[in-house]
Protein backbone atom coordinates (compact mmCIF):
# COMPACT_ATOMS: atom_id res chain seq x y z
CA UNK A 1 0.00 0.00 0.00
CA UNK A 2 1.51 3.35 -1.02
CA UNK A 3 2.57 5.77 1.67
CA UNK A 4 0.04 8.39 0.53
CA UNK A 5 -2.88 5.98 0.69
CA UNK A 6 -1.76 4.66 4.07
CA UNK A 7 -1.70 8.17 5.51
CA UNK A 8 -5.14 8.96 4.20
CA UNK A 9 -6.53 5.65 5.47
CA UNK A 10 -5.17 6.43 8.94
CA UNK A 11 -6.73 9.89 8.83
CA UNK A 12 -10.09 8.47 7.74
CA UNK A 13 -9.97 5.88 10.56
CA UNK A 14 -9.18 8.54 13.13
CA UNK A 15 -11.84 10.91 11.83
CA UNK A 16 -14.41 8.08 11.78
CA UNK A 17 -13.57 7.08 15.37
CA UNK A 18 -13.90 10.65 16.64
CA UNK A 19 -17.04 11.50 14.65
CA UNK A 20 -18.67 8.19 15.42
CA UNK A 21 -18.45 8.76 19.16
CA UNK A 22 -19.61 12.35 18.77
CA UNK A 23 -22.71 11.20 16.88
CA UNK A 24 -23.33 8.18 19.13
CA UNK A 25 -22.00 9.29 22.53
CA UNK A 26 -20.74 6.67 24.94
CA UNK A 27 -21.24 7.32 28.63
CA UNK A 28 -18.02 7.00 30.55
CA UNK A 29 -16.98 7.25 34.15
CA UNK A 30 -14.13 9.63 34.82
CA UNK A 31 -11.69 9.09 37.66
CA UNK A 32 -9.92 12.16 38.92
CA UNK A 33 -6.14 12.41 39.00
CA UNK A 34 -4.34 13.90 42.02
CA UNK A 35 -3.23 17.15 40.30
CA UNK A 36 -6.82 18.02 39.30
CA UNK A 37 -8.14 17.08 42.74
CA UNK A 38 -5.51 19.27 44.39
CA UNK A 39 -6.61 22.26 42.32
CA UNK A 40 -10.26 21.61 43.09
CA UNK A 41 -9.55 21.40 46.83
CA UNK A 42 -7.52 24.59 46.71
CA UNK A 43 -10.35 26.50 45.02
CA UNK A 44 -12.87 24.98 47.44
CA UNK A 45 -10.90 26.39 50.35
CA UNK A 46 -10.56 29.94 48.98
CA UNK A 47 -11.99 32.77 51.08
CA UNK A 48 -14.87 34.70 49.53
CA UNK A 49 -13.52 38.11 50.48
CA UNK A 50 -10.46 37.92 48.22
CA UNK A 51 -10.18 38.08 44.45
CA UNK A 52 -9.57 34.99 42.35
CA UNK A 53 -7.58 35.94 39.25
CA UNK A 54 -7.99 33.70 36.21
CA UNK A 55 -5.29 34.43 33.68
CA UNK A 56 -6.58 33.29 30.29
CA UNK A 57 -3.44 33.42 28.15
CA UNK A 58 -4.79 31.18 25.41
CA UNK A 59 -6.10 31.75 21.95
CA UNK A 60 -8.41 30.26 19.38
CA UNK A 61 -6.00 27.49 18.37
CA UNK A 62 -6.11 25.79 21.75
CA UNK A 63 -9.77 26.57 22.38
CA UNK A 64 -10.55 22.87 22.27
CA UNK A 65 -8.58 22.24 25.48
CA UNK A 66 -8.41 25.58 27.24
CA UNK A 67 -12.02 26.69 26.79
CA UNK A 68 -13.52 23.71 28.70
CA UNK A 69 -10.89 24.24 31.42
CA UNK A 70 -11.82 27.91 31.66
CA UNK A 71 -15.51 27.10 31.78
CA UNK A 72 -15.06 24.48 34.51
CA UNK A 73 -12.94 26.76 36.69
CA UNK A 74 -15.27 29.72 36.24
CA UNK A 75 -18.28 27.55 37.05
CA UNK A 76 -16.65 26.43 40.26
CA UNK A 77 -15.79 30.02 41.17
CA UNK A 78 -19.32 31.27 40.41
CA UNK A 79 -20.82 28.28 42.26
CA UNK A 80 -18.88 29.27 45.37
CA UNK A 81 -19.58 32.97 44.93
CA UNK A 82 -15.91 33.91 44.60
CA UNK A 83 -15.11 37.32 43.11
CA UNK A 84 -13.29 36.71 39.81
CA UNK A 85 -11.05 38.78 37.57
CA UNK A 86 -10.13 37.56 34.08
CA UNK A 87 -7.21 38.82 32.07
CA UNK A 88 -4.65 37.57 29.56
CA UNK A 89 -0.89 37.95 29.18
CA UNK A 90 0.26 36.40 25.94
CA UNK A 91 -2.65 36.45 23.54
CA UNK A 92 -5.13 39.23 22.87
CA UNK A 93 -7.90 36.77 22.01
CA UNK A 94 -7.71 34.93 25.34
CA UNK A 95 -9.57 37.35 27.62
CA UNK A 96 -12.07 38.01 24.84
CA UNK A 97 -12.91 34.33 24.44
CA UNK A 98 -12.86 33.76 28.20
CA UNK A 99 -15.08 36.79 28.69
CA UNK A 100 -17.64 35.24 26.34
CA UNK A 101 -17.55 32.04 28.40
CA UNK A 102 -17.94 33.94 31.65
CA UNK A 103 -20.80 36.01 30.23
CA UNK A 104 -22.57 32.77 29.32
CA UNK A 105 -21.92 30.93 32.58
CA UNK A 106 -22.24 33.67 35.21
CA UNK A 107 -26.02 34.28 34.86
CA UNK A 108 -26.66 30.57 35.63
CA UNK A 109 -25.39 31.26 39.16
CA UNK A 110 -26.88 34.73 39.45
CA UNK A 111 -23.50 36.42 39.05
CA UNK A 112 -23.35 39.83 37.42
CA UNK A 113 -20.54 41.58 35.57
CA UNK A 114 -19.00 44.30 37.68
CA UNK A 115 -20.53 43.07 40.92
CA UNK A 116 -19.17 39.51 40.91
CA UNK A 117 -16.66 39.34 38.08
CA UNK A 118 -14.62 41.62 35.86
CA UNK A 119 -12.64 41.26 32.67
CA UNK A 120 -9.40 43.27 32.69
CA UNK A 121 -8.67 42.34 29.07
CA UNK A 122 -5.34 41.73 27.40
CA UNK A 123 -2.30 43.14 29.21
CA UNK A 124 1.14 43.50 27.70
CA UNK A 125 4.35 43.66 29.66
CA UNK A 126 4.82 40.04 30.73
CA UNK A 127 6.84 39.84 33.90
CA UNK A 128 6.74 43.62 34.42
CA UNK A 129 2.97 43.50 34.46
CA UNK A 130 2.89 40.60 36.90
CA UNK A 131 5.36 42.33 39.20
CA UNK A 132 3.22 45.47 38.97
CA UNK A 133 0.13 43.45 39.90
CA UNK A 134 1.85 42.30 43.06
CA UNK A 135 2.51 45.85 44.23
CA UNK A 136 -0.46 47.84 42.96
CA UNK A 137 -3.37 46.24 41.15
CA UNK A 138 -5.51 49.36 40.47
CA UNK A 139 -2.42 51.28 39.31
CA UNK A 140 -1.34 48.47 36.98
CA UNK A 141 -4.75 47.54 35.60
CA UNK A 142 -6.46 50.98 35.66
CA UNK A 143 -9.50 49.99 33.58
CA UNK A 144 -11.41 46.95 32.49
CA UNK A 145 -12.00 45.72 28.95
CA UNK A 146 -14.90 48.21 28.57
CA UNK A 147 -12.57 51.07 29.59
CA UNK A 148 -14.34 51.52 32.94
CA UNK A 149 -11.91 52.69 35.65
CA UNK A 150 -11.35 49.92 38.19
CA UNK A 151 -12.25 52.15 41.12
CA UNK A 152 -15.79 52.30 39.68
CA UNK A 153 -16.15 48.51 39.52
CA UNK A 154 -17.72 47.09 42.70
CA UNK A 155 -15.86 43.76 42.63
CA UNK A 156 -12.55 45.62 42.61
CA UNK A 157 -13.27 47.58 45.77
CA UNK A 158 -10.72 46.82 48.45
CA UNK A 159 -8.41 45.07 45.99
CA UNK A 160 -5.12 46.94 46.25
CA UNK A 161 -2.30 44.45 45.87
CA UNK A 162 -1.50 40.77 45.82
CA UNK A 163 -2.43 40.37 49.48
CA UNK A 164 -6.05 40.91 48.43
CA UNK A 165 -5.82 38.04 45.92
CA UNK A 166 -6.68 34.51 47.05
CA UNK A 167 -5.22 32.62 44.08
CA UNK A 168 -4.12 32.99 40.49
CA UNK A 169 -5.04 30.28 38.00
CA UNK A 170 -3.12 30.43 34.76
CA UNK A 171 -4.83 28.80 31.77
CA UNK A 172 -2.45 28.70 28.84
CA UNK A 173 -0.90 26.54 26.12
CA UNK A 174 2.51 28.14 26.71
CA UNK A 175 4.85 27.92 29.68
CA UNK A 176 4.17 31.34 31.22
CA UNK A 177 3.43 29.97 34.68
CA UNK A 178 7.09 30.37 35.84
CA UNK A 179 6.55 34.15 35.68
CA UNK A 180 3.75 33.88 38.24
CA UNK A 181 5.75 31.42 40.32
CA UNK A 182 8.79 33.67 40.38
CA UNK A 183 7.11 37.00 41.09
CA UNK A 184 4.07 35.97 43.09
CA UNK A 185 4.58 32.59 44.74
CA UNK A 186 8.31 33.16 45.25
CA UNK A 187 7.86 36.50 46.98
CA UNK A 188 4.35 36.55 48.42
CA UNK A 189 3.50 32.82 48.52
CA UNK A 190 0.33 33.47 46.49
CA UNK A 191 -1.19 30.09 45.51
CA UNK A 192 -0.84 29.43 41.79
CA UNK A 193 -2.95 26.97 39.82
CA UNK A 194 -2.20 25.83 36.28
CA UNK A 195 -4.39 24.57 33.46
CA UNK A 196 -2.50 23.71 30.31
CA UNK A 197 -2.76 21.77 27.08
CA UNK A 198 -1.92 18.09 27.42
CA UNK A 199 1.42 18.41 25.67
CA UNK A 200 2.70 21.04 28.15
CA UNK A 201 1.73 19.12 31.28
CA UNK A 202 4.91 17.00 31.67
CA UNK A 203 7.03 20.17 31.87
CA UNK A 204 5.00 21.50 34.80
CA UNK A 205 5.36 18.46 37.06
CA UNK A 206 8.54 19.75 38.77
CA UNK A 207 6.63 22.84 39.90
CA UNK A 208 3.71 20.73 41.12
CA UNK A 209 5.97 18.41 43.06
CA UNK A 210 7.83 21.26 44.76
CA UNK A 211 4.57 22.87 45.89
CA UNK A 212 4.97 25.93 43.73
CA UNK A 213 1.73 24.95 42.00
CA UNK A 214 -1.26 23.99 44.11
CA UNK A 215 -2.79 21.89 41.34
CA UNK A 216 -2.93 21.34 37.63
CA UNK A 217 -5.41 20.45 34.89
CA UNK A 218 -3.88 18.49 32.00
CA UNK A 219 -5.61 19.25 28.73
CA UNK A 220 -9.15 18.18 27.96
CA UNK A 221 -8.81 15.33 30.47
CA UNK A 222 -8.20 17.86 33.20
CA UNK A 223 -11.30 19.78 32.19
CA UNK A 224 -13.34 16.56 32.31
CA UNK A 225 -11.92 15.72 35.75
CA UNK A 226 -12.79 19.17 37.05
CA UNK A 227 -16.32 18.96 35.63
CA UNK A 228 -16.71 15.63 37.42
CA UNK A 229 -15.62 17.23 40.68
CA UNK A 230 -17.98 20.22 40.39
CA UNK A 231 -20.80 17.94 39.27
CA UNK A 232 -21.41 19.66 35.95
CA UNK A 233 -20.32 17.54 32.98
CA UNK A 234 -19.92 19.73 29.93
CA UNK A 235 -17.56 19.98 26.95
CA UNK A 236 -14.72 18.30 28.82
CA UNK A 237 -16.70 15.15 29.54
CA UNK A 238 -18.24 15.29 26.07
CA UNK A 239 -14.72 15.22 24.65
CA UNK A 240 -13.67 12.16 26.64
CA UNK A 241 -15.48 9.73 24.35
CA UNK A 242 -13.81 10.94 21.16
CA UNK A 243 -10.47 11.30 22.96
CA UNK A 244 -10.68 7.76 24.31
CA UNK A 245 -11.38 6.27 20.93
CA UNK A 246 -8.77 8.46 19.26
CA UNK A 247 -6.18 7.11 21.74
CA UNK A 248 -7.32 3.55 21.00
CA UNK A 249 -7.01 4.14 17.25
CA UNK A 250 -3.49 5.56 17.66
CA UNK A 251 -2.46 2.59 19.83
CA UNK A 252 -3.93 0.19 17.28
CA UNK A 253 -2.10 2.00 14.48
CA UNK A 254 1.21 1.77 16.32
CA UNK A 255 0.69 -1.95 16.99
CA UNK A 256 -0.27 -2.55 13.38
CA UNK A 257 2.81 -0.66 12.20
CA UNK A 258 5.01 -2.84 14.40
CA UNK A 259 3.32 -6.05 13.24
CA UNK A 260 3.91 -5.07 9.62
CA UNK A 261 7.51 -4.12 10.45
CA UNK A 262 8.21 -7.43 12.20
CA UNK A 263 6.63 -9.35 9.32
CA UNK A 264 8.79 -7.47 6.83
CA UNK A 265 11.90 -8.09 8.92
CA UNK A 266 11.11 -11.82 9.16
CA UNK A 267 10.61 -11.98 5.38
CA UNK A 268 13.89 -10.23 4.65
CA UNK A 269 15.76 -12.63 6.94
CA UNK A 270 14.49 -15.69 5.07
CA UNK A 271 17.13 -17.10 2.72
Amino acid sequence: MGDYRTRRLIWVLLAAAVMGVLIYPVRMRMLVSPPAYQLYRAVEALPKNKLLIVSCSWEAGTKGENAPQTEAILRHAFQRGLPVAIFGLNYAAGPMLAGDIAAQVAPEYGRKYGRDWVNWGYRTGGSQMVAGLARDIPGTIRQDVNKTPVDKIPVMRGVNNIKDVSMIIEITPSLTVPIFIRYLYGVYRTPIGYACTGVMAPEAFPYLDSGQLVGMLKGLTGAAEYETLIGHPAKGMAGMGPQSFAHLVVIAIILLGNILYLRERARSRRP
Binding site: E59, G61, P173, S174, Y183, V187, V199, M200, P202, E203
Partner: protein, 255 residues
Protein backbone atom coordinates in the same frame (compact mmCIF):
# COMPACT_ATOMS: atom_id res chain seq x y z
CA UNK B 1 11.72 35.34 44.10
CA UNK B 2 12.09 39.01 43.29
CA UNK B 3 15.70 39.18 44.39
CA UNK B 4 18.36 36.54 44.81
CA UNK B 5 19.21 35.04 48.16
CA UNK B 6 22.71 34.10 49.28
CA UNK B 7 22.47 30.57 47.91
CA UNK B 8 21.48 31.77 44.46
CA UNK B 9 24.26 34.35 44.42
CA UNK B 10 26.89 31.78 45.44
CA UNK B 11 25.72 29.25 42.87
CA UNK B 12 25.62 31.87 40.14
CA UNK B 13 29.09 33.13 41.03
CA UNK B 14 30.42 29.58 41.00
CA UNK B 15 28.88 28.84 37.60
CA UNK B 16 30.03 32.16 36.13
CA UNK B 17 33.56 31.60 37.48
CA UNK B 18 33.60 28.12 35.92
CA UNK B 19 32.43 29.42 32.55
CA UNK B 20 34.78 32.43 32.43
CA UNK B 21 37.66 30.32 33.71
CA UNK B 22 37.25 27.70 31.01
CA UNK B 23 36.90 30.41 28.37
CA UNK B 24 40.23 31.86 29.53
CA UNK B 25 41.80 28.38 29.44
CA UNK B 26 40.45 27.73 25.97
CA UNK B 27 41.85 31.05 24.74
CA UNK B 28 45.31 29.93 25.79
CA UNK B 29 45.16 27.28 23.10
CA UNK B 30 44.20 24.21 25.11
CA UNK B 31 42.61 21.55 22.90
CA UNK B 32 39.07 20.82 23.98
CA UNK B 33 37.10 17.71 23.11
CA UNK B 34 33.43 17.90 22.19
CA UNK B 35 31.64 14.67 21.35
CA UNK B 36 30.05 14.21 17.98
CA UNK B 37 26.54 15.62 17.66
CA UNK B 38 24.99 14.01 14.56
CA UNK B 39 22.30 16.66 14.18
CA UNK B 40 24.82 19.46 13.91
CA UNK B 41 27.17 17.47 11.70
CA UNK B 42 24.32 16.96 9.26
CA UNK B 43 23.86 20.70 8.68
CA UNK B 44 26.56 20.85 6.01
CA UNK B 45 25.06 17.85 4.20
CA UNK B 46 21.59 19.39 4.29
CA UNK B 47 22.84 22.65 2.76
CA UNK B 48 24.80 20.66 0.17
CA UNK B 49 21.68 18.72 -0.78
CA UNK B 50 19.74 21.93 -1.37
CA UNK B 51 22.59 23.23 -3.55
CA UNK B 52 22.70 20.03 -5.64
CA UNK B 53 18.96 20.04 -6.19
CA UNK B 54 18.92 23.75 -7.03
CA UNK B 55 16.15 24.33 -4.50
CA UNK B 56 16.11 26.72 -1.57
CA UNK B 57 16.40 25.86 2.08
CA UNK B 58 14.21 27.12 4.88
CA UNK B 59 15.35 28.16 8.34
CA UNK B 60 12.79 28.75 11.07
CA UNK B 61 14.00 30.34 14.31
CA UNK B 62 10.97 29.30 16.32
CA UNK B 63 8.32 31.26 18.15
CA UNK B 64 10.39 32.98 20.77
CA UNK B 65 11.03 36.71 20.85
CA UNK B 66 14.46 38.27 21.35
CA UNK B 67 15.52 35.78 23.98
CA UNK B 68 18.42 33.44 24.53
CA UNK B 69 16.85 30.53 22.62
CA UNK B 70 16.15 32.64 19.56
CA UNK B 71 19.60 34.26 19.66
CA UNK B 72 21.14 30.81 19.73
CA UNK B 73 18.94 29.82 16.79
CA UNK B 74 20.07 32.97 14.98
CA UNK B 75 23.72 32.07 15.53
CA UNK B 76 23.06 28.70 13.87
CA UNK B 77 21.14 30.55 11.14
CA UNK B 78 24.19 32.72 10.56
CA UNK B 79 26.37 29.63 10.09
CA UNK B 80 23.84 28.06 7.73
CA UNK B 81 23.45 31.40 5.96
CA UNK B 82 27.17 31.61 5.31
CA UNK B 83 27.19 28.10 3.90
CA UNK B 84 24.17 28.89 1.73
CA UNK B 85 25.81 32.10 0.51
CA UNK B 86 29.04 30.27 -0.28
CA UNK B 87 27.16 27.76 -2.45
CA UNK B 88 24.76 30.33 -3.87
CA UNK B 89 21.68 28.69 -2.37
CA UNK B 90 18.66 30.69 -1.31
CA UNK B 91 17.84 30.62 2.38
CA UNK B 92 14.30 31.57 3.32
CA UNK B 93 13.90 32.79 6.91
CA UNK B 94 10.30 33.26 8.04
CA UNK B 95 9.98 35.01 11.41
CA UNK B 96 7.08 35.22 13.81
CA UNK B 97 8.15 38.16 15.97
CA UNK B 98 8.27 41.63 14.42
CA UNK B 99 11.24 42.49 16.64
CA UNK B 100 13.20 39.65 15.05
CA UNK B 101 12.73 40.84 11.50
CA UNK B 102 15.48 43.49 11.38
CA UNK B 103 17.81 41.22 13.37
CA UNK B 104 17.31 38.31 10.98
CA UNK B 105 17.66 40.58 7.95
CA UNK B 106 20.91 42.04 9.26
CA UNK B 107 22.25 38.61 10.07
CA UNK B 108 21.56 37.08 6.68
CA UNK B 109 22.85 40.19 4.88
CA UNK B 110 26.06 39.92 6.94
CA UNK B 111 26.37 36.25 6.02
CA UNK B 112 26.14 36.96 2.29
CA UNK B 113 28.49 39.96 2.69
CA UNK B 114 31.04 37.80 4.51
CA UNK B 115 31.09 35.42 1.56
CA UNK B 116 31.52 38.33 -0.84
CA UNK B 117 28.09 37.80 -2.42
CA UNK B 118 26.13 40.73 -1.11
CA UNK B 119 24.74 41.45 -4.57
CA UNK B 120 23.05 38.03 -4.66
CA UNK B 121 21.30 38.58 -1.33
CA UNK B 122 17.49 38.71 -1.58
CA UNK B 123 15.93 40.77 1.22
CA UNK B 124 12.47 39.32 0.52
CA UNK B 125 13.74 35.90 1.64
CA UNK B 126 13.64 37.11 5.25
CA UNK B 127 9.95 37.61 5.88
CA UNK B 128 7.57 38.29 8.69
CA UNK B 129 4.63 35.93 8.30
CA UNK B 130 2.38 36.46 11.29
CA UNK B 131 2.52 37.00 15.01
CA UNK B 132 0.03 34.20 15.56
CA UNK B 133 1.31 30.67 16.16
CA UNK B 134 -0.84 28.73 13.70
CA UNK B 135 -1.02 31.49 11.14
CA UNK B 136 2.80 31.36 11.16
CA UNK B 137 2.70 27.58 10.83
CA UNK B 138 0.27 27.81 7.92
CA UNK B 139 2.52 30.40 6.27
CA UNK B 140 5.63 28.25 6.67
CA UNK B 141 3.80 25.19 5.32
CA UNK B 142 2.69 27.23 2.33
CA UNK B 143 6.23 28.49 1.77
CA UNK B 144 7.66 24.97 1.93
CA UNK B 145 5.11 23.68 -0.58
CA UNK B 146 5.39 26.55 -3.04
CA UNK B 147 9.15 26.89 -2.94
CA UNK B 148 9.66 23.09 -2.80
CA UNK B 149 12.45 23.48 -0.29
CA UNK B 150 15.11 20.81 -0.29
CA UNK B 151 16.20 21.24 3.32
CA UNK B 152 14.54 22.68 6.39
CA UNK B 153 16.07 23.76 9.66
CA UNK B 154 13.96 24.23 12.78
CA UNK B 155 16.05 25.79 15.50
CA UNK B 156 14.59 27.69 18.43
CA UNK B 157 11.66 27.43 20.79
CA UNK B 158 8.61 25.74 19.29
CA UNK B 159 5.19 24.95 20.61
CA UNK B 160 2.33 22.91 19.18
CA UNK B 161 3.10 23.81 15.57
CA UNK B 162 6.36 21.81 15.66
CA UNK B 163 4.80 18.62 14.32
CA UNK B 164 2.81 20.53 11.68
CA UNK B 165 5.98 22.08 10.33
CA UNK B 166 8.02 18.89 10.48
CA UNK B 167 5.38 16.70 8.85
CA UNK B 168 4.84 19.23 6.09
CA UNK B 169 8.56 19.33 5.44
CA UNK B 170 8.54 15.55 5.28
CA UNK B 171 5.73 15.61 2.70
CA UNK B 172 7.74 17.96 0.52
CA UNK B 173 10.66 15.55 0.73
CA UNK B 174 13.03 17.92 2.50
CA UNK B 175 15.96 16.85 4.64
CA UNK B 176 15.10 18.16 8.08
CA UNK B 177 17.36 19.16 10.95
CA UNK B 178 15.75 20.38 14.16
CA UNK B 179 17.06 21.66 17.45
CA UNK B 180 14.98 22.93 20.33
CA UNK B 181 15.22 23.30 24.08
CA UNK B 182 11.45 22.71 24.27
CA UNK B 183 11.40 19.21 25.74
CA UNK B 184 7.73 18.70 24.93
CA UNK B 185 8.32 19.19 21.20
CA UNK B 186 11.45 17.05 20.93
CA UNK B 187 9.45 13.80 20.43
CA UNK B 188 7.62 15.35 17.48
CA UNK B 189 10.84 16.46 15.86
CA UNK B 190 12.43 13.08 16.55
CA UNK B 191 9.76 11.21 14.58
CA UNK B 192 9.56 13.63 11.67
CA UNK B 193 13.03 15.03 11.20
CA UNK B 194 16.11 13.31 9.93
CA UNK B 195 18.30 14.77 12.69
CA UNK B 196 17.30 16.28 16.00
CA UNK B 197 19.39 18.22 18.48
CA UNK B 198 18.07 17.81 21.99
CA UNK B 199 18.21 19.89 25.17
CA UNK B 200 21.74 21.02 26.04
CA UNK B 201 23.04 20.16 22.58
CA UNK B 202 21.02 23.09 21.29
CA UNK B 203 23.06 25.51 23.39
CA UNK B 204 26.23 23.79 22.26
CA UNK B 205 25.37 24.36 18.62
CA UNK B 206 27.25 27.63 18.03
CA UNK B 207 30.35 26.26 19.77
CA UNK B 208 30.21 23.00 17.86
CA UNK B 209 29.75 24.59 14.46
CA UNK B 210 32.25 27.42 14.71
CA UNK B 211 34.81 25.66 16.96
CA UNK B 212 35.69 29.06 18.35
CA UNK B 213 37.77 28.68 21.51
CA UNK B 214 35.57 31.14 23.44
CA UNK B 215 32.44 29.17 22.72
CA UNK B 216 34.07 25.78 23.27
CA UNK B 217 35.45 26.97 26.57
CA UNK B 218 31.98 28.13 27.56
CA UNK B 219 30.62 24.68 26.69
CA UNK B 220 33.11 23.02 29.04
CA UNK B 221 32.25 25.61 31.67
CA UNK B 222 28.59 24.61 31.35
CA UNK B 223 29.49 21.00 32.09
CA UNK B 224 31.49 22.05 35.14
CA UNK B 225 28.54 24.18 36.30
CA UNK B 226 26.24 21.17 35.99
CA UNK B 227 28.65 19.16 38.12
CA UNK B 228 28.65 21.97 40.69
CA UNK B 229 24.84 21.96 40.75
CA UNK B 230 24.78 18.20 41.25
CA UNK B 231 27.27 18.59 44.11
CA UNK B 232 25.11 21.34 45.63
CA UNK B 233 22.03 19.11 45.38
CA UNK B 234 23.86 16.23 47.07
CA UNK B 235 25.18 18.45 49.88
CA UNK B 236 21.74 20.01 50.39
CA UNK B 237 20.10 16.57 50.41
CA UNK B 238 22.55 15.28 53.01
CA UNK B 239 21.90 18.30 55.23
CA UNK B 240 18.15 17.87 54.80
CA UNK B 241 18.35 14.19 55.75
CA UNK B 242 20.55 15.00 58.74
CA UNK B 243 18.75 18.03 60.14
CA UNK B 244 15.41 18.25 58.34
CA UNK B 245 13.98 21.14 56.31
CA UNK B 246 15.21 23.95 58.60
CA UNK B 247 18.79 22.73 58.54
CA UNK B 248 21.95 24.76 59.15
CA UNK B 249 22.70 25.16 55.45
CA UNK B 250 19.19 26.41 54.65
CA UNK B 251 19.35 28.93 57.50
CA UNK B 252 22.81 30.15 56.46
CA UNK B 253 21.97 30.50 52.81
CA UNK B 254 18.39 31.66 53.14
CA UNK B 255 17.18 28.97 50.74
Amino acid sequence: MEHANTLQLLLTLACVAAILGTIATARKGRQLYVRRIPGLQAIDQAVGRATEMGRPLLFSVGLGGIDVDTLQALSVAQYVGRLAARYGTRMIVPVVEPVLLPVAQELTRDAWKAEGREDAYRPEDVRFLSGEQFAYAAGVIGLMSREQVASTFFFGYFYGEALLLAESGLEVGAVQVAGTPATTQVPFFLVSCDYTVIGDEFYAASAYLTREPTLLGSLIGQDISKALLVAAILVGTLFAIWQGKENLLARLLGG
